[in-house]
């Protein structure tokens, strides 16, 4: 899919909270230290953080890099699985906090871990149709996992904001995108449930791998590219193994996915995952680099995008904190503090 008008990423910004829970801590409490660890550690939001606060900081970083006046944004769209309200948009709070209101479209997006890239597709269309010059898409989450569940090792917090604008102003322009979706209930949460349910091994081959590979292969086919045409690629990162395996299945090398692989040290930031990985790639990218972004959201589907980095990247990278700086800014906590911060401790 290509929009009627050429568009691209004008600004980008990341956010990762500072607390880290080592996977070995989860294993210590639940498995006497004997579990296989799917990541090294995961990020944990502090007591006063949520998807709103984190989205605001990422949005400010994106505005700083983009050099765009907030009132020029015509959309602020936040995709998440952890919107603080079931009814009352995260996006309006973020839009107001960054100064984008009142002439702005603001609504929340949900498609599990690909809510952010859904918002990105829409932002591309908004600007690409000529309805707006700038639109902001954010993928951000404070993922919750049931204590003792396999997902507790990886459910993390963080994400990224992107300002889509005209190609001439972009640090990376869009070549095309593709969305592939089926009705596949691999992971879901009813409104009355606090924690999601997942289908165990069903979340693998028929879910993550099927949808990611279909979207990417369709995109490459449409654009006439092979994996060798890309300097870097980033996939949704629920753990270390899945993105490595899908990269291999598609023909991408370990080197190509290296810059975007944040999951070992940050965990799975759900709707923020692939978008956050892309910010790390952009932080080191060179003009002319072609980059593949392919998300995965349970339910299920994948959005794939091909971007090419422009000359404008050099002057924009340092205008906001780099993603690796957020990763390095870490304060390890133990399981008890994590339970307290994530409000899993019931006071009777």
């Amino acid at each position: 899919m290509k929009p009627a008008r050429d568009v691209g990423i004008v600004g980008y910004g990341a956010y990762v909270p500072r607390y880290r829970l080592p996977a070995s801590e989860v294993s210590r409490v639940w498995m006497e230290g004997r579990a296989a660890l799917p990541v090294e550690e995961k990020s944990v939001p502090g007591l006063d953080e949520d998807t709103v606060t984190m989205a605001i900081e990422a949005a400010r970083n994106a505005l700083a890099r983009g050099g765009v006046a907030p009132e020029a944004l015509r959309a602020v769209w936040v995709g998440s699985e952890s919107h603080p309200y079931a009814v009352k948009p995260t996006s309006t709070i973020v839009a107001e906090a960054i100064g984008a209101t009142p002439q702005v479209s603001a609504a929340d997006w949900e498609f599990a871990c690909k809510a952010g890239t859904e918002a990105l597709q829409a932002a591309i269309a908004f600007v690409g149709s000529g309805m707006a010059d700038y639109a902001m898409a954010i993928g951000m989450d404070t993922a919750q996992a049931r204590p003792g569940d396999a997902l507790e090792y990886t459910a993390a917090a963080g994400g990224a904001a992107y300002i889509v604008g005209p190609r001439e102003e972009s640090l990376a322009y869009l070549e095309g995108s593709y969305s592939s979706v089926t009705d596949t209930p691999d992971f879901f949460r009813r409104p009355y449930q606090h924690y999601p349910e997942h289908g165990g091994r069903f979340t693998g081959r028929p879910s993550y791998f099927k949808h990611t590979t279909s979207a990417v292969r369709a995109l490459l086919d449409e654009l006439g590219y092979t994996p060798g045409d890309f300097a870097a690629a980033v996939f949704h990162q629920p753990n270390i193994k899945f993105p490595q395996r899908v990269a291999q299945m598609l023909g991408f090398s370990k080197e190509q996915i290296q810059a975007g692989m944040l999951v070992p040290k940050v965990g799975n930031t759900y709707a923020g995952s692939s978008l956050l990985g892309l910010t790390a790639i952009l932080d080191e990218a060179k003009p002319g680099d072609r980059v593949l972004l392919a998300s995965f959201g349970s339910g299920a589907g994948s959005d794939a995008f091909s971007f090419v980095v422009t000359d404008l990247i050099k002057e924009r990278q340092a205008l906001a904190p780099r993603t690796q700086a957020y990763v390095a800014r870490r304060k390890p906590i133990d399981y008890a503090s994590y339970i307290r911060y994530r409000k899993k401790l019931q006071i009777h």
Binding site: G199, G200, R201, F202, R205, P206
Partner: protein, 386 residues
Amino acid sequence: MRDVSIIGIGQTKVGEHWHRSLRDLAVDAISAALKDAKVERVGALYVGNMLSGELTAQEHLGALLADWAGLGSIEAVKVEAACASGAAAVRLGYIGVASGIQDFVLVCGVEKMTDADAETTTAAWSAAVDADYEASHGPSFAAINALLMRRYMYEFGVQRQDFAPFAVNAHQNGVNNPCAMFRSPISAEAFEKARMIADPISLLDAAPICDGAAAVVLCPSDRAREFVGKPVRIRGSAMATDRLALHSRSDPLCLHAAQVSAQKAYQQAGVGPHDINALELHDAFTVMAALSLEACGFAERGKGVRLAQEGEITLQGRIPISTMGGLKARGHPVGATGVYQIVELVEQLRGEAGANQIDCRLGMAQSIGGSGATAITHILEAQEER
């Protein structure tokens, strides 16, 4: 009593069949078996299955599959004997034809284990042990077998690593079976490093959770050649039970039911262990394979592991086991397994085992329910021309 022959076989690949339901898998196997037998109508259907109620909310499989496979208003019933359900279905099909009450019988073993999460499936499998006196204390089915393995190691001076040849052999044979779930070899080093499930049982000691269906068509031996060129006669069919709970058995390290059913089958067939060319034994766990070899008279008590270490269980050995991958590598869709064992022996006896073909005139299959409380043994031979 009439002789009974197998005139048709069918099987699905064993694996995680996300897109196939229990009834889909069963109909696939049934259709293949009927086609192989060149038979369109049967008089009865026996369905081997253990977990359909718990995992897919479906009992009444006899009627369901007779309906879904378009078999008409024939008599049909589900047969359950825990992990030996498939073999129990074969046993009842055999009795039906041997008795003269039924002529053409379809036996289908089917299990769909992946429609529930691993914890639910593991818990459901515990119904194979004593619910009140074993499962209620918390051990999983693997844990019960781990007690056996631990005792075996203690009494016979065997290390965990010594069980590796069972897993290595199974995987080696799975490589050449297109229907096997696992088709890559494993090394003894991988066995040593494998993750524990219930110490000392590791991931590579234990058969996988999986889906699959297999079916056979039985008929009186004297009519078999009207339908197919290479019928296989059932020379021996015997079942025995033992006390259900492991702790109730006078000697847990002797699979008494397996020993009794093997002896009865040998007696019926007029043969002994030295006559058997291939043994499809119940390698749900490596310790079960060792104990089965001992119960069937291929090794003395406590020497089953040694037999494997000496290479006698490979395709080139004195008593090839798990010739198409066994429960470990072909897979163990619980209620279907007993029928897969028969199907694979028929392939060997017909000369249709491909790269795993051995010189096979007499084959033996033994299926065990729970930790040894049910054992069902069949001895098959390639039917000579009259």
